[in-house]
């Protein structure tokens, strides 16, 4: 047990990745504020990135890192669009509670 704590292997990284993912997931599921939900999504994306790079490193494959670059770029774009939407919503409704937008139509 101690030896597995003293040498770092694949499982450690994946454990951190999974923990980050679950925390982000709980943020998405539980938080009220839309902005915080968007942040939690970023957190989840990061967890996935970590898993990509880890597997790439341990299985000798450069593709893991390349995919991570793509994900980072797309995540930035997604954050921009999501925040633009949030800005619009807040301007129209003065409200950031996710439950407030349950009955939007059209």
């Amino acid at each position: 047990m101690l030896s597995s704590a003293m040498t770092i292997g694949l499982g450690h990284y994946i454990f951190v990745s999974g923990a980050l993912f679950v925390v982000g997931l709980l943020g998405v599921l539980l938080r009220k504020n839309i902005i915080v939900i968007l942040m939690s999504i970023e957190l989840m994306l990061n967890a996935v990135n970590l898993a990509f790079v880890t597997f790439g490193y341990y299985f000798d494959d450069v593709n893991g890192a390349v995919i991570t670059l793509f994900v980072i770029a797309i995540a930035a774009a997604e954050a921009a669009v999501g925040l633009a939407l949030v800005v619009n919503l807040f301007k129209n409704f003065r409200e950031l509670n996710i439950r407030f937008f349950e009955h939007l139509k059209g």
Binding site: I14, L50, A73, I74, A84, V87
Partner: protein, 174 residues
């Protein structure tokens, strides 16, 4: 040995900061915790011999995305949300936490039993170096088309964002 210490430092940092994002009632504090978590993950990338990815992580997330979040939070001045940070519904939240726990249990289970142990080490003694040279070789050959499409996406996104959030008649319109 430094790698081990670095791992625990960065892993602990990022997990702690992630919990801060989840639990802190003030969105600004959530954003700041998110920055810390990003830096922690970037440190883990460095630890995995992927310095370029770690740098991009810091530049893009800490430098651009987080600033964007911060601006939005500041513009709308939503410092606190009152006492109620989480969504209403005790039972629903219980179920959510239950399933979150189930997911983490599954991940842990798979690490323990599918991967045989925590301590899987690279088969190749010369672990791949994810430096700029190696990455760009792949990026500009195998992924060239995707790369171009990504460029196009990054062109479209700002335009779309401006179209979404602009105020009709300029910034001073009522």
């Amino acid at each position: 040995m430094t790698e081990v210490i670095m791992f625990y430092v960065f892993a602990g940092l990022s997990l702690f900061a992630a919990l801060g994002v989840l639990l802190h009632p003030n969105p600004i504090m959530s954003v700041l915790h998110l920055v810390v978590a990003m830096i922690g993950v970037a440190g883990l990338f460095f630890n995995l011999h992927a310095p370029f990815v770690g740098l991009v992580q810091i530049l893009v997330y800490a430098g651009a995305v987080i600033i964007l979040f911060l601006f939005v939070v500041m513009i709308f001045d939503v410092k606190t949300e009152g006492k109620q940070v989480f969504s209403y519904g005790t039972i629903a939240n219980g179920v959510k936490i239950l399933f979150g726990g189930a997911l983490s249990g599954l991940i842990l289970f798979s690490i323990l039993f599918e991967m045989e142990s925590f301590n899987y080490q690279p088969t190749n003694a010369m672990a791949p170096q994810f430096d700029v040279r190696n990455l760009s070789k792949v990026l500009y050959t195998d992924y060239l088309f995707m790369f171009e499409v990504l460029g196009l996406l990054l062109l479209v996104i700002p335009i779309g964002t401006v179209a979404l959030s602009r105020i009709r008649g300029g910034t001073h319109a009522k």
